[in-house]
Subunit: 219 residues, 2 copies
Amino acid sequence: MIRFSVLKWVPPFARGSVKEFRVRWALEEAGLPYEEEVLTPEDQNGDAYRARQIFGQVPAYEEDGLAMCESGAILLHVAEKSDTLMPRDAQGRARTLQWVFAAVTSVQPAVDQVTALDFFYAQEEWAKLRRPSAEEFLLRRLGQLSARLEGREWLEERFTAGDLMMVTVLRDLRHTDILTRFPPLAVYVKRAEARPAFQKALADHTALYAEAAKAEAAE
Amino acid sequence: MIRFSVLKWVPPFARGSVKEFRVRWALEEAGLPYEEEVLTPEDQNGDAYRARQIFGQVPAYEEDGLAMCESGAILLHVAEKSDTLMPRDAQGRARTLQWVFAAVTSVQPAVDQVTALDFFYAQEEWAKLRRPSAEEFLLRRLGQLSARLEGREWLEERFTAGDLMMVTVLRDLRHTDILTRFPPLAVYVKRAEARPAFQKALADHTALYAEAAKAEAAE
């Protein structure tokens, strides 16, 4: 049985962006059943969990005695089990690896620069001074990615785990209008979001926070 | 034959940190021969290279008709070929993936925040205001990693590609005294640097810039 950790509560801006969502979506694409291990803040910061995940992050993943963490690593591990996530030929595998890493090391840092300024440091003087150059760098990267996707449905000839990872990274910009400036990227994200596995995963992820969202709406 | 791209010139602070070094070190560990494809700035920004590497980064990697990029992806691809870089059992493979991703997505962003401030923005007003919180976050992450390495030679029971990647990330702090505050990390980096494959790779990488370094020293 597959089991991964999720957070019992996260602030509204993080819903849909918690990194367990990547694993959940991948497991839905692969058609593999799973259980959630719901962590309270006390669990997350406790010694037992820190022994499994040294930074206290989610997800931690277990499967028949195998234990691992880091969403990118788990995504590739799950991709090994499913042709839907990774082609079987050497070139197809290599390109899947390539785009997963491109997403988390060449695009995500540029996205995170901007989202961190917006969500964590918006009132800081330095953040206001920094934001233009952070956005400029992000726009350059997105322009390069957008050119790749011009006239393509996916980063390669077919959907892979690389698209899954890239889309989760791009969705972190949904509090801005930045993607609307790159129509190939906006359409690409919508195409991925229309996949039944994405829909199921997002509904289940969001359900974790349904009660909290109701209470917030009533405030 | 294996071939990967390298840069004909980089500024002194980047020597030893260019991401092709990760691949070079991995190939030395695996005992696989390779060739360098030396890129001028014109090559790097030309359409032909951008078609292979959309962000214009190094390394791009080729092997018997297979083509890919992103140093993390190439590292895992090479690790598939060598027991020195990745154990063959499922748990060992999973942990290798885990630590490669931990290095580039949980540690590298914290390191890059600080190195970017030091190398690219040192004179900016916002960078001076930002640096204390960036360093504080980095020290927290390094403390968590250091606790993991207390009493261990490597992140798992033996050296893997995860250690290789983690060490390349930590070495990016060599312009600071930060690692000396975490003796388990300082010793870990030295242990990795003592490996013959590391020594060979660093010598060959540095040789690319020997003439430039000589000219700089004469200035």
